[in-house]
Structures are given as C-alpha cells and as structure tokens.
Subunit: 134 residues, 4 copies
C-alpha cells in the first residue's frame, strides 16, 4: 500500500553509459537515490531533518530488476512509492523510458538508526510520521 508517491525525471548523462552503449547497471543505484531524495524533499523531510531528529537511514537491502536498457540523453521517469515506514522504511521504484515502457523495478529497505548509539530504532521520527499521516 502506498503511503506516499512521487515522480522524478532525470536525463541519462553520457558518462553513465558503458561500451554496450547502454546505462551500466550499477548507475541505477544513483538514479534511485536521486528519486528517493526528491521524494523526501517533496514530503518535506530530508537527510538534514533526519539528522536533526538524531537518526539516519542507511540502506540495508536493495533489490533491482533490469527489464530494458536505457541510453544516453533519454529522459527517464521514475515513480517512487513509500510502502512502509515502520519497522523499517520500504520504498519501491519503477523507471519508465520516453515511450512509457517500464525498464526497471527496484525495492530498498532502510533501517532507522540512532546517530549516537548506532542502535536500530523500529519507530520512525514523530515528524516524519506526521508529514506522512501515519
């Protein structure tokens, strides 16, 4: 179930392409981070807010499925969906090319960690929850 959904567009830079002429698979991790940061900015709760609340959200798991390749100068549309906030932050990603075809699916799990104690926290910061109405 979607707690929050956002869209982000990026243009594939030249340097992300490999000798096959397509985006090297590892570069999608960057696109996911751009999508995630943009989504958090739209919620109004970014990395700086996390820090101010004494937590950080390191990536614990990342699953990626490559459906079709993308190439230099393509405009990619990324759909980011926050699925769960507690006990861990689960985000799903889909990337579509200019023809509207789905080229990529991904899912990340992030653990809320107390910056000082380095301990996992299974409840999200109050302000994050309020902004998401959960």
């Amino acid at each position: 179930m979607a707690i929050f959904k956002a869209e982000t567009t990026i243009k594939v830079p030249f340097y992300d392409n490999d000798p096959m002429g397509v985006v090297w698979h590892g570069n999608y991790v960057k696109y996911l981070e751009i999508a995630r940061c943009d989504t958090l900015a739209k919620i109004g709760y970014d990395y700086m807010d996390m820090k101010n609340d004494g937590v950080m959200y390191p990536i614990a798991k990342l699953d990626m499925k490559y459906i079709k390749p993308s190439t230099f100068a393509q405009n990619l549309r990324m759909v980011t969906v926050i699925e769960e906030l507690e006990p861990s932050l689960i985000i799903k990603y889909e990337i579509f090319d200019e023809k509207g075809e789905k080229i990529f699916k991904g899912k990340s799990m992030q653990i809320c960690v107390n910056i000082e104690t380095k301990q996992s926290v299974y409840v999200a910061p109050q302000r994050f929850k309020e902004l998401l109405n959960v």
Copy 2:
C-alpha cells in the same frame, strides 16, 4: 551448489566513501563487477570470449544486503561463487572485512543474450561449460 568459487581482494578507495565516512552503498555494485571479472578471468572465459562466442551476459537481477559498513583503505576480501550456469548465470557474492566479519551479501542473475539477434539463449556457450566441467 558451487560450480566455481574464487576470491578477490580490493582496497577501498577514498572517493567511494560518503559524508557518513563509509562506502556509499551504490559502490558495492562496482566491487561485485571487479569480483565477477576476476572470477571469469580465473576460469579463463572473460567478456572477450563471450563476444567471440557471439553472446553477452547483461545483468537481469541484482540483490544486495548490507550487513556492516566498510571504510577508506580497508582491504576487503570478496568470495564469488557461480551457482548456476543454465538457464541463467547465477552468482553469489560475500564480502568480508579485515577482521573476517561478513559485511555484505549479494546475488546476481545474468541472461545469456545472442549479440546479433538480441534474443535470450538458455544454454551457455560450449567452451564456458567445458571450462566449468558442467
């Protein structure tokens, strides 16, 4: 079951670390590719051999699990295991830090694709199989 197993060591470069002072999670995809290429070189069947056999092996799926962080200048030991060759190439990866603790687990699935027709091929090239005794 392991068809082939190899070990590769890398030293974490400065530029792979993020503002938290640890390796940014997306950089592990690079380490996996270094491990995979090193493993293929040890088998004696690299990207050039694939090309000569008219195939390529794009990544179709990649799952990563981050257990502990790693930091600048650490020597990481990567254990790469080829688990399946057909119908698709399944490789598992484990990364250990200098204390011998497991910090990362990953799994990739690659599809054998005919370079000319761009069609998936569910059998591996003969020479690849012979080198792996399968």
Copy 3:
C-alpha cells in the same frame, strides 16, 4: 571571445560527496560534461550530429581550478562558454553556488577526430560552424 554561451543548473546529489562532507573533486568532471552536453543541445548540434558528420570530439586537455567547496543538495549554476571552434574546440566553464559565489573554473580542449581514419581534423564540421555563425 565567446562564440556561444549557455547556462545549466544542477543539484548536487548525495553520492557525490566525500567524507569531508563536500563534493569530491573528481565529480566536477561529470558536471562539466552535463554542462557541455546541455550547451551542445542548445546549439542544436549534439554527439549524435557529430557522429552523423563522421567525427567525434575526445577530450585532449582538461584544467580545473577549485575555489570553494560545494555540498549536498546545493543548486549549482554552470556557465559554459565556447571560446574556439578551430583548430580545436576550447570550452570554458564557471560554476557558481546559490549565493552567487564562483566556486570552480575549468577549461577543456577537444580535438575533432574522423571516426573512420582516427585522424585529427583541424576544421569543424560545416553544420556545427553554421549553427555557431563562424
């Protein structure tokens, strides 16, 4: 003297920052390429047009001067100026932070190379010159 001038804005992604909390110096090369590709797109003569004209423009020299650091989520304004088209393509870059302060200066030299013969060509393709009125 400026043959053509364009502006490009980018937002600094998290993964471009190093343990000092600032953009790692090597990542500016990516920003310059984004600025250069955007400038060429505005001229109407991109990498694909070069290819169609049988040439490519590899980087032969790149000089960079780092004035101030930039950090995650900053919007950077890049000013790109094409200074010379022949015998080689000389482009100057300046990057400004959100306060309008200049944080970076760079200069690239690119050689026009015939794709087939791999020989340097000291005259630019006719269409490139026409679009730039030189």
Copy 4:
C-alpha cells in the same frame, strides 16, 4: 625536481569505459587519487596522519592531458612524482599502457589547510617533511 617517486599499477575496470569503448576521461581523476594514496602510503604519511597533524590537503588545481585512450582490462602503470611540498603540494602523474606508451599526463596542486581554522598553511607538517627529507 623529484622529492619522492612511486609506481602504482591498476587494472581498468569494465564500468570505467564509455560507449566509445575507452576509459571515460573523468575516470582518470580516480586513478590519480589511487596513485596519490598509494604514494602517501609508501612514504608512511597518509590521510589519517594528516588528520592527526590537524591538517587536510584539498585539491586546488588539477590539469590533465590525454594522450592515448586506454581500455577495459588493461594494466596501467602510474608514475607519481612529488615535486614540491611547500608552499603547496605539487604532484605530477604519468600513466603508461602495457606497451610502455605514455597515455596520460597530469599535475595536481594541493593546499595544506588547518582542519579547525580552515586557513591555508604554507608549511607542511614536520613529520611529513622529515619522512621526505626536506
């Protein structure tokens, strides 16, 4: 004049190559950092020692000259020469391919900066100088 000279070898990873099938020019900045860190390790004065001495050495200038391309899986030999230690750290780099041909030349200038005051310091830490006999 060379204050210190060291050699470092790297193997070009697949993901550093662009659609032209050669190393993307921006990736050489990474190779220079690997060469610089290896050189400092050989001197016995690395980033951690700098930190312990209360200084850091951000890159202020970087000039690069690309002579020939390099490609996937090539072993590159990098020769790093520390030319000046004061008032700023000047390092020159040359990269040679497997045939012994020079493919790249670079030069970096780093400023010694006091970590706390963020002020430039024009003298190098005593221990750094002793290790280099200057």
